[in-house]
Structures are given as structure tokens and as C-alpha cells.
């Protein structure tokens, strides 16, 4: 049976997907995840989830359009009137937007 493992480096960090373990039951899955994924990197906690419990939505599933199909620029800070006191936030948002557009373009190729 396959289990998906998520590791949290420090308290309050997000859990990040780190891989799988194969184990016949939850107890062994936890034990194996401990040595396979929590041994050599800083670890505050692990989530171990049975593969079957993970629901998936695919980009090419019928009716699925991640982000929608119409223009929604209002999602980005650059679409609003602001002054220089927001400069940093705007730059960060700008970068984020550009990266997202690049990544989406990449994924569509």
C-alpha cells in the first residue's frame, strides 16, 4: 500500500510533499516515513496520507479551467492606483505575476 509523505521543517511552516513509502499499515507507514524522510533533514512533523485518500483535479479534466478563461487582471496589485509607499508590494506582485504567466506558458507548451 502506498502512502504520500509531507514534511514540515519547522513549526508553522507549510508541509511539503517529499515522496512516498510503501507499507502495509499506518503504523509501519509512520515508522518508515520517519527513517526515509525525516532522518537527514530538519523535521518538525510528517503527514503520512494513504494514496487513495488524495483527491486529484487535473488541468485537462472536462470542465476544469484553472484560473478561468476570461481576463481577471484585478487579481493583481498592479491593476490598482497606488502611490510609492506600496512600491515593494507592487514589485513583489509584479514579479509573482510575471513568474506565474511564464510558468503557465511553459506548462501549455
Amino acid at each position: 500500500m502506498r502512502w504520500e509523505v509531507f514534511r514540515q521543517d519547522k513549526k508553522k511552516d507549510y508541509h511539503t510533499y517529499v515522496g512516498t513509502v510503501h507499507a502495509p499499515n499506518a503504523e509501519l507507514a509512520k515508522q518508515y516515513a520517519e527513517v526515509q524522510h525525516g532522518r537527514r533533514k530538519p523535521t518538525n512533523s510528517l503527514w503520512i496520507v494513504p494514496k487513495d485518500a488524495v483527491e486529484t483535479v487535473y488541468a485537462d479534466d472536462p470542465g476544469v479551467e484553472f484560473g478561468g478563461t476570461t481576463q481577471k487582471d484585478y487579481r493583481w496589485a498592479t491593476a490598482y492606483s497606488t502611490d510609492e509607499t506600496f512600491a515593494e508590494e507592487i514589485e513583489a506582485s509584479q514579479r509573482e505575476q510575471e513568474e506565474a504567466e511564464r510558468d503557465i506558458a511553459e506548462a501549455d507548451r
Binding site: V21, H22, P24, Q31, Y32, E34, V35
Partner: protein, 289 residues
């Protein structure tokens, strides 16, 4: 508290450092350390044989991790023997196989693919180990007290791993049969874990260990027998004297499996023409390990 417990033994941690001990005390401390170190070293050596041969990739990594833990523990105990002027070379690599005082349980070979043996062995060994180490928490020898907590900290994983597999294998008749065969074969050798060295009386009287081995053996039996019986296994019955194998380990006598294993793990040392052990890690006293 056991009636055998020596109540007028020296207080925990009161014996002082290695240079403060008289000859009698030093001999007793060395005897206790030698058993701890050799058990962990040899059991790790055998576990390592499962690396890339376990029932699953995860089982390989799990048992490999346990082997690493046990090697680390052996290193801590051998290091305390080095306080008395020994070095790793004469303790291990250029030792005589008859110098080793591990129990015969840990030296036995595994039949190819007999994972049930590994599980039963680990279950019997790790429960023994917990009891012996707990009886060292308040040792009169402070160098042992300093390290025993760290060693105990890695042991719950070993017990849980063994118990989990034990339950898993006991779920069907085929698994139970394999467990039973392993138990019949290993149980007499597990009893040698509790065999005394010729220093046993001194070890207890001097408070180096707080419980005598025969008391620990009964505590161990009270833990493992009901669990094994609850899984549908029959624990061999009879007087320990009748069950015990001829070789006892603790007195330097070993089964036929020991010399080949000893030559196997010292082979590379001799093959490379080594005269001293190469140290890869800082001394345990200088690093928090």
C-alpha cells in the same frame, strides 16, 4: 523493587572517572561495558545482512537504520572501554574472537529470506536491552549514566518496529508458523542475554547496574511471554538450565557461527594491511553525539 537489589551499593554516579576506580571496580565496569558494546556491535553486523535483502525497500531502510543506531551505541560503549587504555584495534579489529562477550542470540546467522527470524530476534533483543539499560540509568559509574539516556532514546523505534512486524506476520497461519520456528530456535539463545559474566556479583554490589540479570530475566519474561502467547505462539517451556545452549556468550564461549562472522568483518582490515582503526567521527566526548 526487587529483594535482590543491593541497597548499600554506592550512590548513582558516585564512583568518579576512569582514573578514580580501584582494580576491582574497574574490572567490573569493564565487564559490563564489554557485554553492552559487543551485543550492539554484533547484532548490528547481522542486521546489516538484510540491507538490500529485506521484504521491501522500506524494510531494508528500516532495519538498516536500526543497525546504524546499534553501531552508534556500540561506539559509545567501546569508547568508555577506551578510557581504561584499550583502543578500538585491540577491542575489535585485532581482538581474539574469544574476547567477545556478546550473547549467542546476536551472532546466529539468518537463513536466506527468513525475515521472521529477524523480527523475533529483534523483538527479544530490544526488550532485553531496554531493561538492562534502564537498570543502568542510576549506575554508580557516572560515564555510563551520561550516555545511557541517549541510547535509550533510540530504542523505542526498534521495539515498535519489531512489534509491528510481529503482529503483521502473526495474522495468518503461514506467518505464525515461520514465527514459531524462529522462536523455537532463538528463545534458548535469548536466555544467554541474561547469563552473568564472572563479574556479575561485583557489578550489582558496586551499583554499576541496579538490578541483577536474573531479576531482569524474569521482568523480560513477564513482558514477552504474554505478548507472544497472545499472537498464538508457544514459548518454549522448561528450566532455563535445560533450555540454554552449550555456548553462553557471556563467558567467551560462542556458537560455530561466531568465528566465521568475526573473520568476515575483520577481513577488510587485514586485507588492507591496517594497523590502526581509521576514525571518521569526532570523539563522543568532544561532540554531542
Amino acid at each position: 523493587m526487587s529483594p535482590d537489589r543491593s541497597t548499600d551499593a554506592p550512590e548513582p554516579g558516585s564512583l568518579g572517572g576512569p582514573d578514580d576506580l580501584d582494580d576491582e571496580t574497574r574490572t567490573a565496569v569493564e565487564a559490563e561495558l564489554r557485554c553492552l558494546a559487543d551485543d550492539d556491535f554484533v547484532v548490528a553486523e547481522r542486521y546489516t545482512e538484510w540491507q538490500v535483502r529485506g521484504p521491501t525497500l522500506e524494510a531494508d531502510i528500516g532495519i538498516g537504520n536500526i543497525a546504524q543506531d546499534e553501531l552508534g551505541h556500540a561506539r559509545l560503549w567501546y569508547d568508555l572501554l577506551e578510557d581504561f587504555g584499550h583502543d578500538e584495534t585491540d577491542l575489535v579489529w585485532e581482538a581474539d574472537p574469544g574476547d567477545f562477550r556478546h550473547a549467542t542470540l546476536v551472532e546466529l546467522p539468518f537463513e536466506t529470506g527468513d525475515w521472521a527470524d529477524c523480527v523475533v530476534r529483534s523483538y527479544l533483543y530490544d526488550h532485553y536491552e531496554e531493561l538492562r539499560l534502564e537498570a543502568l540509568r542510576e549506575s554508580s559509574y557516572p560515564r555510563i549514566v551520561d550516555r545511557v539516556g541517549k541510547v535509550l532514546g533510540e530504542e523505542p523505534y526498534h521495539r515498535e518496529h519489531a512489534e509491528n512486524w510481529l503482529e503483521r506476520l502473526a495474522e495468518d497461519a503461514g506467518g505464525r508458523r515461520r514465527l514459531q520456528e524462529a522462536l523455537d530456535r532463538l528463545y534458548p539463545h535469548a536466555l544467554t542475554l541474561f547469563e552473568p559474566t564472572d563479574q556479575e556479583d561485583a557489578i550489582v554490589a558496586l551499583g554499576i547496574r541496579r538490578e541483577p540479570l536474573d531479576v531482569l530475566r524474569e521482568e523480560w519474561r513477564a513482558i514477552v511471554v504474554p505478548v507472544l502467547a497472545g499472537l498464538g505462539l508457544e514459548v518454549p517451556e522448561g528450566d532455563d538450565a535445560d533450555l540454554l545452549p552449550d555456548a553462553r556468550g557471556r563467558d567467551g564461549t560462542h556458537t560455530d557461527a561466531w568465528e566465521p562472522l568475526f573473520h568476515e568483518f575483520t577481513h577488510t582490515y587485514h586485507d588492507l594491511g591496517r594497523e590502526e582503526a581509521v576514525s571518521l567521527m569526532p570523539d563522543p566526548d568532544e561532540a554531542d553525539v
